[in-house]
Amino acid sequence: MIDKFIDSAAAALADLPDGATVMIGGFGNAGMPAELIDALIAQGAKQLTVVNNNAGNADAGLAALIGARRVRKIICSFPRQTDSWHFDKAYRAGELALELVPQGTLAERIRAAGAGIGAFYTPTAFGTRLAEGKETRRIGGRDYVLESPIHADYALIKADRADRWGNLTYRMTARNFGPIMAAAAKITVAQVRETVALGELDPEIVVTPGIFVQRIVRIAPLRRAA
């Protein structure tokens, strides 16, 4: 029997080793797996390479992971924010490597990893500093840059509903990087708002088929004061 439900975020991340490459979903707060990140901080793994659109903000989540000096390298498109002080400090101190990738190239590199593509040519960033040193090619009158897939050991993502086979649906723009990260990682851990019985998810509306998901943790949403 297939049962991907795990009792706690801590149990879902227990085997995550030092030096792992960890994709973390989310764009802003939408789709950010806050409780999984907290569990990763508590778990203690270090020397991590983190793939996320940003580099953390304020003092929680990814910013706290960076503040705790657990991240060796970050691959992202937009690290600089008004409140990205943990990243800024570690980066300026030379303690944290940054690989800056245009957002669409970041998404496509993650997608390529999940889809078994060895490399691809994208027009994005041709002629810019971010393509310096990269192989380029003129195809059909347009210039392209060669880019490689980004594989991960773990993906931590947030979805909306899940069944025990690991099928996922998302909620609005919280979908963002979740589906492609799930496919690019060896072990995908999804935190979800709700778990449902097998058969309750309409097969037409499953966004991430269970084949891409290894572990699911239900995190009840916070009740907000009215």
Binding site: G31, F87, Y91, R92, R175
Partner: protein, 216 residues
């Protein structure tokens, strides 16, 4: 010299977006354009974070943290909207499906090179987001910016001194002084704000401008 303010630049640009267009409004200044789109046109707004059909800002208290735009501001969704993941969203951009994108700029060159992501300062933390994808992907790249820097230098330049976002990608520039098309044979002034003489615009801009028959 009469100049347009930011809202007026946004309103001027908005007039040029036709009915039925698919449009991405960049973070910051370009977002203003949404407020001025003609009400009698159906224009579908895209945001990089996986949404088509963005509607007006939600009423205070009605925000949903799962429904935001690329600037991470709360938005609403129109009837006919849809959600998709990041790779599909940038496939849409890179695959030339968007009719227009509107971007801010530090500089635009006479060849349509765009610089808008990096000041070039050696100690600056670089951050690019989706700007490079939009610059190469949209069918029409519209730039919205002030014509001059604070110290009076033209932001329309012979050659960008700031690091490029994209090469030869800008189609039209909307500034507080003029609307300028970037064409293979150079810059064509489409419109000048107020009573500003062409020669004065030319003097302020520095790089050669062509005067359209319709321009003042």
């Amino acid at each position: 010299m009469k100049k347009l303010d930011r809202k007026q630049i946004a309103a001027r640009l908005a007039r040029d977006i036709p009915d039925g267009a698919y449009v991405n409004l960049g973070i910051g200044l370009p977002t203003l354009v949404a407020d001025y789109l003609p009400k009698d046109r159906e224009i579908v707004l895209h945001s990089e974070n996986g949404v088509l059909g963005i509607g007006p800002r939600p009423a205070p208290g009605a925000e949903d943290e799962d429904l935001i735009n690329a600037g991470k501001e709360p938005v609403t969704l129109l009837k006919g909207g849809s959600f998709f993941h990041h790779a599909d969203s940038f496939g849409m951009i890179r695959g030339r499906h968007l009719d227009y994108c509107v971007l801010g700029a530090f500089q635009v060159s006479v060849h349509g090179d765009l610089a808008n992501w990096h000041t070039g300062a050696p100690d600056a933390i670089p951050a690019v987001g989706g700007a490079m994808d939009l610059a190469v992907g949209a069918k029409n790249v519209l730039v919205m910016m002030e014509h001059l820097t604070k110290d009076g230098q033209s932001k329309v330049v012979e050659r960008c001194s700031y690091p490029l976002t994209g090469a030869r990608c800008v189609n039209r520039i909307y500034t507080d002084l003029a609307v300028i098309d970037v064409k293979a044979d150079g810059l064509h002034v489409v419109e000048i704000v107020g009573e500003l003489p062409f020669d004065e615009l030319q003097r302020l801009t520095g790089v050669p401008l062509k005067r359209l028959a319709t321009a003042a």
